[in-house]
């Protein structure tokens, strides 16, 4: 995470996408294999990583979920690339 400062918003988003994809894929697998200890260990690590990647993105760019939106003097939730738009 220490060299995140050099990354562009698109690169930080890519890290979030990759991390979340890993979480989703393990999530579906664990739904039907809840006792697989290796997968459980992988999930714990994947979830931790996804959290870190999301925080890194939100700190530098904009909130991904409404609870991360700052509301000091304006509504930060509107900021950012909505799924209908194209990230530059």
């Amino acid at each position: 995470m220490e060299n995140n400062r050099q990354l562009t918003a698109a690169q930080l988003m890519r890290k979030v996408s990759e991390a979340m994809f890993y979480v989703t894929d393990l999530n579906l697998y664990l739904d039907t294999h809840p006792d697989d200890t290796r997968a459980l260990r992988m999930f714990a690590e994947a979830a931790e990583n996804a959290k870190a990647c999301t925080e890194a993105f939100e700190k530098r760019c904009y909130p991904l979920t409404v609870c991360s939106a700052e509301c000091d003097d304006n509504w930060e939730w509107l900021v950012g690339v909505w799924p209908s738009q194209k990230m530059s």
Binding site: N27, D31, P83, S84, K86
Partner: protein
Amino acid sequence: MFIFTKMTQIPVRINNKNPKLASYILSQYGGPDGELGASLRYLSQRFAQTDKSGIALLTDIGTEELGHLEMIGSIVTQLTKGEGARSFDRYGVGDYYIDHANGVYPASASGVPFSAAYLQSKADPIADIMEDMAAEQKARATYDNILRMCDDPDVTNVIRYLREREVVHFQRFGDTNRTDLKVFFT
């Protein structure tokens, strides 16, 4: 409940415009084997499931399909953004423009509006899971057809990804615990 996340599963970045291709891809939005039908099917079927593993799988895959619906909507929007009536007409999709202009409307590639008749909810885990596995293969086959029609790499990247997810979902549905389901036949 659902909490919206302001991102797509993989980034959708389409540089070229192509209203015709958009009208083909729209079928995975509101067509017979599209993502809207998939998410409604799984998110409805789960209410009758008794096996926790089955409930979780239908919920989680149904949720992912909603995300895929959003990605398809994003592809269609980006392929048609800024295109006017004449452009739609030149691409041979003037009829879509007349009814929806640049809007994303849940319909099939042949223009049939979305219908809940595309899906079932039988409260019978064997019937439901078998339908779900078939649905994943039909969606995969539709993505194959789109790939045969599409030579824009920005689009094929996303379509290939979505196609692969159908294969994974098929495998996950195939992993559901059928031995626990015997209770429904006694």
